[in-house]
Symmetry: C2
Subunit: 566 residues, 2 copies
């Protein structure tokens, strides 16, 4: 089985659906010409297909191990990392001043997605570094930036993020790690952190940890948390890794999937750290990192879906059965239905993700509030919908394989095991949905309304060619508008009781929007046909989601905890 | 974490929802008193909780192995099998004449389900034997019955079913295994079979294979297939295992889950077999076995869902977070929503499954055609809905655990890995749905209509107490009636293009029916509250499913195979 990055699909979406030329017209991204984008995607595609994809299965069989306190990575990962670094892909959207490529985040997101489809566990390593680079760019002092950014961007060093503690998961504010001033401008960081993705490796000379901890005068809760950069080896005066810091990997988790990615329990015993950003301002700094990381995790879902889809299609085209035109199961109606659903959902989730990334670019390039709000609004949707599409498509991929899907040699099962964590990490999908109906609706539903206006405008102007499709989408928007009004008018308990279903409905309708755009770009062609399929068979899911979204909290809490157990 | 069989839930459904007393009033099941059912469920529950559940995790870590051609089973499985056999659970619904308990299939189904929730991979062993016992009871000669049934029922020997070959999966008719007459009434069976669950073990003195193969004069396709009983050791004149037969386990599959169940590649090299049933009548005989096995696999899904739910609830009640009444995540709206959805779906799928089993009992006890049709109609629904609920609840269980869910030590991931195969084996869920809209609608939709009449009757008579709930259900029935008419009026290609969604809609509505019955049995109580939750938030899914069900084949085949790859 082979994997081929969906290069032409990214190009189509970036150019015809999202309108990346809008970004190219800004000063910040003026060098992003169509030819450059084509070249970048082609180059990244070759790396994904030829270097990363071949590492996928081996990294599942021989996952990361901890040997005498040292992490040993999967076969070929050192070379894979080297190739990713050499290509400049770690720092592709980082500041050119520190060695980054300065590419739009939309292009970087496409590259991250294709790499996720090739080998998710390795792709997570540059994704973690990218998050750290962003956080340091936005919040660190010049001294820290000058020291760390070039190393992280070049891939000589890797970065991690350390939030979670055994009793502080989704509730980050409950963390107990401490940071005490050493009197020389540095801090002694002490505590245990869990679920640290790529907490260590055996292929870079240093690993840089961003650690959330509480200063002695930090108040309880999230407002008393500060952010520290804590390197595995303390850089000496030449910026080279010097003495080992007082930290260690205690153990690696045994996970359902993503075996190639070492998930570490980290112990900090008075490790030397440097403050990033303001005292007690750690959450704000961390959010910079997390917001884009959330989009990146959504992309992990989409990329996994792409990989799973390609494998399933290839199998369906090989598996002989019955007297059909091709003689394979690909001609069986229910198999074809599965493939169509997979393909339609990959397009929808990918378009939402790239639109989200584009909004971030425009926000950075123009400082316009609307783009910032749009980016913030789309982020939880990209994360949840992307990862749910990842899970569902990977599951369907196993189903297409039939009995072979349950056998690990087919590779279908691995997609499904690996992608499972994406719905959990970087804030569970439940937390994301609460973010959407809570924080992201503090504007009284204005951003939601603007998106719906945009969709309805397109539906109205495009009615002529496809009245059935556009009417369906327009009706969906109206229903979503009502549900949005309902959300804004209700308290958080009611909202949270329906938040995930609300988000799912929103994603379905946004997916319809981008499918309609694709249909308009390809009249009578396969994209219009796929859009029709989506609109008649998948869009209607919104009705059930909106019913659940606006049913309120009474039903959710109708049973006591004793009743639930009974 | 502990598992407790949902004994009182089975009792409630059997007595108040399904009306098992109807079966007790027949001669065949006249000994099935309420007290007996209570005693049986209690006894089986103790076995599930105390003997089987403790084997779950260990069997995942130390799965079955093949050592020098011999299968070595997981730690404790030999003792587990012994306890299952000693309790009489292998033959609980088998003919008392051969040592069976003669219990209604509804009760046996409840017991199988609870055992599945305790340890799925071990539970599959008696499930396979039960299928074989049924097939032999219905089709074998007296000589074969006298020899094999007592051994299988007592658990001294185990049984398997051998259908699949490398190039004959869902298309059983493509199989190439041969059976040649030896001239002494026996046959020489030759061929390779794959995906043979529990194809061997190290805890019984014999393993009896039911093998599909083609006689020399067998026509191509399913009509030329015959069924043979092929024991691992050929019984001698005393009925004891004698010389080794010419068959062997070639290898075990490396699977995503269900590690405790050895999935074998079997090689038959002129192995001695005896014909079961008529020459070329193998498929009919096999269907006896498969129909009830399909119901059993649906029950594996429901049982896994129960286990996953119990673990998730226990974790939610332990995991401290935030200032909520209980101080745990169980008070968070989105977590509570997940738990409610899990519980509501477990009830729905369990009730459908037990109603299906009851219909089989009534069909056996009364020979009434309506019960037979009803059982046949419900079987694919039980299989698909039960296994999809299993997958979805197990996935949600992982989500409730958050980061811990992805870590194998929590046990949440194992449910999700183990249950995955249930949507595939015994006929993939796609095949089941084709069976529903094809073979099971050869009556022109009459059986579907009778079920809908029954539901609408209940909705009408029960309207007073719960008009909102009953109206929703009644409307759903009308929509499903229309979709059923659509199915009957269209060709198979159109039907199959929407068959899985049609089945899902039917299951959702049947689930509503049983929830309404439960509400009526518990006015103002938790069952009514759960029914309200289901009816307002989960039942509405039928609209999207029916839209997809009746959209026809044009959309499904709109893209060419090249477009799909593009």
């Amino acid at each position: 089985m082979s994997y081929r990055a969906a290069t032409s699909e990214y190009e189509f979406i970036l150019n015809a659906i999202i309108g990346i030329e809008e970004a190219s017209q800004t000063e910040k991204f003026s060098e992003t010409t169509p030819d450059l984008v084509t070249a970048i995607l082609g180059e990244a595609g070759r790396l994904s297909d030829n270097v990363m994809a071949p590492l996928q299965r081996g990294s599942d069989l021989e996952g990361a191990r901890l040997e005498n306190g040292v992490v040993r990575t999967s076969p070929g990962f050192a070379e894979g990392w080297q190739a990713i670094s050499d290509g400049g892909w770690v720092g592709m959207s980082a500041d050119p001043e520190y060695g980054g490529m300065g590419l739009p985040f939309s292009v970087a997101t496409a590259v991250n997605e294709m790499m996720a489809g090739a080998c998710l566990s390795l792709q997570l390593a540059p994704l973690m570094s990218q998050g750290q680079i962003e956080a340091l760019e936005a919040h660190a002092s010049d001294a820290i930036k000058d020291l760390y950014l070039p190393k992280l961007i070049s891939g000589e060093w890797t970065g991690t993020m350390n939030l979670t503690e055994p009793q502080a998961g989704s509730d980050v504010g409950a963390l107990t790690s401490k940071a005490e001033p050493n009197g020389d401008g540095t801090y002694a960081v002490t505590g245990q952190k869990i679920f640290i993705s790529w907490g260590d490796n055996d292929f870079t000379e240093n690993v840089v940890h961003l650690v959330l901890a509480r200063l002695p005068d930090g108040v309880p809760g999230t407002k008393g948390i500060s952010l520290f950069v804590v390197p595995k080896f303390i850089p000496n005066e030449n910026g080279k890794p010097g003495r080992a810091n007082d930290l260690k990997v205690v153990s690696l988790e045994h996970k359902m999937g993503l075996h190639g990615s070492p998930t570490c329990v980290m112990q900090y015993d008075g490790a030397t750290g440097w403050l990033v950003g303001q005292e007690h301002g750690g959450m704000a700094a961390m959010f910079t990192m997390m917001n884009n990381a959330r989009l990146g995790v959504g992309g992990q879902g989409v990329g996994t879906a792409e990989g799973a889809y390609q494998h399933a299609l290839e199998y369906a085209l090989e598996r002989k059965q019955g007297r059909t035109p091709s003689g394979t199961i690909a001609d069986h109606a229910d198999v074809r239905r599965m493939l169509m659903e997979m393909k339609a959902d990959i397009f929808a989730s990918r378009a939402i993700m790239l639109a989200n990334a584009h909004a971030i670019d425009m926000s950075h390039a123009t400082d316009a509030g609307d783009w910032t709000s749009r980016a913030a609004f789309l982020t939880p949707i990209t994360k949840v919908f992307g990862t749910e599409v990842g899970m569902r498509v990977a599951e369907t991929g196993v189903q297409v394989y039939g009995g072979m899907g349950f056998i690990e040699e087919s590779g279908a099962a691995q997609y499904s095991r690996d992608v499972r964590v994406t719905a959990i990490y970087e804030g569970t999908n439940g937390i994301q949905s609460m973010d959407l109906v809570g924080r992201k609706m503090m504007d009284g539903g204005e951003m939601a309304g603007r998106l719906l206006d945009e969709i309805e405008d397109l539906a109205e102007t495009g009615r002529g060619a496809n009245p059935k499709m556009t009417d369906a989408l327009w009706n969906a928007c109206e229903a979503l508008r009502d549900a949005t009004d309902w959300m804004v008018a209700h308290d958080m308990q009611d909202r949270f009781s329906g938040s995930l279903h609300y988000l799912r409905a929103f994603a379905r309708i946004l997916g319809g929007y981008y499918h309609l755009k694709a249909a308009q770009a390809d009249p009578g062609g396969p994209r219009e046909k796929l859009a029709r399929f989506y609109m008649s068979r998948m869009l209607p899911e919104y009705t059930a989601h909106l019913a659940a979204a606006t049913a309120g909290s009474d039903g959710v809490f109708a049973l006591s905890l004793e009743d639930l157990a009974g």
